[in-house]
């Protein structure tokens, strides 16, 4: 079965959604992501949807749920790179994603997360840096 790759960048996780979502893929992503957040104790999650041209209320709800799940596990989630047409569609569908942080692109998303969660503390046991 298809899986959406989750990339790790320090204490941030990057998820790039490039294919059409359906409910099994969505729940697989949520399983993987929550598992990863817990495993690496990630502080931030970037969900990049810049390659999605079409979204429906299902994906809208999936995004809201996924970022709520991340928040429960102590990580900030940011949805980045939403296309104009997608934003218009979601607003027309009445999906406002309140409570979800958004950013224009991955770079700005990282910047935003850094402002919110700060840079990772260097300690002797941390081998990542």
């Amino acid at each position: 079965m298809d899986r959406i790759p989750i990339l790790r960048m320090g204490d941030l996780l990057l998820v790039t959604i490039q294919v059409d979502m359906h409910d099994r893929l969505a729940s697989a992503l949520q399983d993987d992501l929550t598992g990863q957040i817990a495993e690496v104790s990630a502080k931030g999650v970037l969900i990049d949807i810049s390659s999605l041209d079409i979204v429906d209320s299902f994906i809208g709800r999936m995004l809201a749920n996924t970022s709520a799940m991340a928040r429960v596990l102590g990580a900030e989630a940011v949805v980045v790179g939403m296309q104009p047409a997608v934003a218009i569609t979601l607003v027309e569908l009445g999906v406002n994603l309140s409570g979800v942080h958004t950013a224009l692109d991955v770079e700005k998303g990282v910047e935003m997360l850094r402002n919110r969660i700060g840079f990772p503390e260097r300690d002797d046991t941390d081998v990542r840096f």
Partner: protein
């Protein structure tokens, strides 16, 4: 029945044409400043030709029938050109209606002594010409509406400029009433520009919006929500005191949006938020 009219239009064609021309040239509706006599002659001749061909079918009622197609096409072209030349609708329709008198005169001179038949002929011709006259007015109206529609579209394109006023700051000065068509154009251009310029802040200035009702407010909030979904924040500026009062009376909730009284104030706020100092010496440099 009515074959006599069809025959008359063929046999008496020249007399009818002369009388009609004479009448048109001397009538009040004649606009020598807008159209030359030669052009009018060509048009009249053409009308006479297509109508006499159409009535040969014996159909005097249904102008949508195929045999009237050339007549309607000729009248449509005629109305359009008259509209562009600056004729009024009644002057345009008079062209068709003025055809009645020469036609009736010809009928009278035709020597038909049967009153009932004559009346029937007159009535049929009357109905037909009325219909054609009304069709002319309809076409005139239609061409005018096309002009209005085109102008509206042009205005729509002109009326939603998105300007970048600072690095990362866009401004959208709105002028005129906001309806749903304009809002969607506005939303699209704004969001597109946000992507192009990677701006995180957009100032929607509504100084030029005369009234804000619940619908307009809803359109504004939709735009703000869409920009937020993409990761950009919107400020709304230029809310006049009366509009602020109306908004509160209408219980429009703008608590989710940052609002400022003037564009300058909004720009100051935006600069501060993006980490730029706003002391005056910064601007002088």
């Amino acid at each position: 029945m009515n074959t006599s009219i069809a025959n008359l239009l063929v046999s008496q064609r020249n007399e009818i044409f002369q009388e009609w021309m004479h009448q048109q040239l001397s009538s009040e509706a004649m606009r020598a400043d807008l159209i030359s006599e030669a052009d009018l002659r060509t048009e009249s001749d053409r009308f006479l030709e297509v109508i006499s061909r159409a009535v040969q079918s014996g159909n005097f009622n249904d102008i949508r029938a195929p045999e009237y197609k050339p007549v309607l096409e000729m009248l449509e072209r005629f109305s359009r050109s008259r509209g562009f030349q600056g004729f009024t609708p009644s002057e345009t329709a008079t062209f068709v209606f003025s055809f009645k008198q020469p036609l009736f005169n010809a009928l009278r001179k035709s020597g038909n002594s049967e009153p009932a038949e004559q009346i029937e002929n007159v009535w049929a011709a009357n109905l037909l010409i009325d219909k054609l006259g009304l069709y002319t007015t309809e076409m005139y109206q239609q061409s005018r509406e096309e002009v209005i529609r085109r102008q509206q579209e042009e205005m729509l394109e002109l009326s939603t400029p998105v300007v970048q006023i600072w690095e990362g700051i866009l401004a959208l000065p709105l002028i005129g009433t906001l309806d749903s068509a304009r809002t969607s154009v506005m939303m699209e251009t704004l969001l597109q520009k946000i992507v192009e310029t990677r701006s995180e802040l957009a100032i929607i200035d509504i100084t030029g919006v005369p009234t804000v009702d619940t619908l307009v407010a809803q359109h504004l909030l939709k735009t703000v929500a869409a920009a937020r979904l993409m990761g950009a924040d919107c400020l709304i500026s230029g809310i006049r005191p009366q509009i602020a009062q109306t908004m509160v009376h209408l219980q429009i909730d703008l608590s989710e949006v940052t609002t400022k009284a003037t564009l300058a104030e909004a720009l100051r706020f935006a600069l501060k938020r993006s980490g730029r100092a706003t002391q005056s010496k910064d601007f002088r440099e």
